[in-house]
Symmetry: C2
DNA sequence: CCGATGGGTCTGGTGAATGAACCTTCATCT
DNA sequence: AGATGAAGGTTCATTCACCAGACCCATCGG
């Protein structure tokens, strides 16, 4: 969290976690990574974040082991940012915080709904599948779709456009390809 | 989150949630509230947060409906800050984020352990009681205790001292009384 | 050669966080 | 009465992070 002083004195795992993902934008970047965003430019336009801040956050998340860089082309070397196993384990807190926000801080309810990919049932409050039972569904088995009850204005960047239709989490957004098509 | 610009454009409940509890210190204040901290001064010394920032955060959390002010004496009017129902629902995300931090960002493991008050069993990853079954245990039925495996240096403020012994969540810490005794 | 694309870095301005000092109300001690 | 001290703030100068936009560099297509 770029904490100047005594954050590091906090005898609490929560403070440690917030040092990693508590800075402004960090959790939104991680959320976008779950949505399938991988490229610098896609994060940039989808989040509307200053370039310098995005660079700093991505590097910090890579250094913290939440994201890793993976080349996707060599010609001019380009790499995407992918969630590590550590990053994937943020799905639980992220989902729950998102649900909390949907209940208490989002007029009109949530904009996205999440379902168990295998059976199509919407996830419950803790991210488990009510019909399949068991614990929370891992993100790779979750699909997201827009909430039909929420008609709000849509943005027009490639990522927002791609997320208008149902989309499995972690599956790369077809950013460049989609915008060219 | 005191977001200058386009946070409010984020079509995501998570962004909304972060506007409320995403600012620096906010989530730590809420955590302390779960621990039973209620008074301005106890937050102040336990968190080591600047007074002006604490004032601002507490007021923001009250305005957001996460905390409420409750007078605890009249003589010079004094009030404590207590979690509302909305605030209590943050227990899930908070606990999970804390667990994540304990696993991935805390050398030596977590400093506190959480158990089901009724049966003494430690909570699992999602905050449920493995032996009693059912969903996540509500915070009022949880006790916290220091992790014996973690011998790290302890601080000496009243709150830290009170939390050395097992303590039910949400139960007010005996701050003034304890320091006088 | 020209421009576009992707992924950055650099810079100046602004607003928020920080730490320390100060203020107010009351209760208690001497 | 006067001094002391606790609780809960407010004010203020300084520092620091965020922001927006300009600029830079490599490569590819025409």
């Amino acid at each position: 969290m770029a904490l100047g002083t005594d954050y590091e004195l906090q005898d609490c795992a929560l403070a440690r976690a917030l040092e990693v993902v508590g800075e402004r934008w960090s959790l939104l970047i991680v959320r976008d990574a779950f949505y399938g965003v991988q490229r610098f430019n896609d994060f940039l336009v989808h989040l509307g974040i200053p370039r310098a801040v995005l660079t700093a956050r991505l590097n910090a998340l890579v250094a913290a082991g939440v994201l890793r860089k993976e080349p996707y082309q060599q010609a001019p070397l380009r790499h995407g940012y992918l969630l590590t196993d550590t990053g994937l384990e943020l799905w639980g807190p992220l989902y729950q915080l998102s649900r909390w926000g949907g209940r208490h801080a989002t007029p009109g309810g949530p904009h996205h709904l999440f379902a168990h990919r295998a059976c199509g049932t919407d996830l419950d409050l803790i991210g488990a599948c009510p019909s399949c039972g068991g614990g929370p569904v891992p993100p790779a088995e979750v699909t997201m779709r827009p909430n039909p009850a929420h008609a709000g204005g849509h943005r027009e960047d490639p990522v927002s456009r791609a997320l208008v239709r149902p989309h499995p989490l972690l599956e790369p957004i077809a950013s460049a390809a989609a915008s060219a098509a």
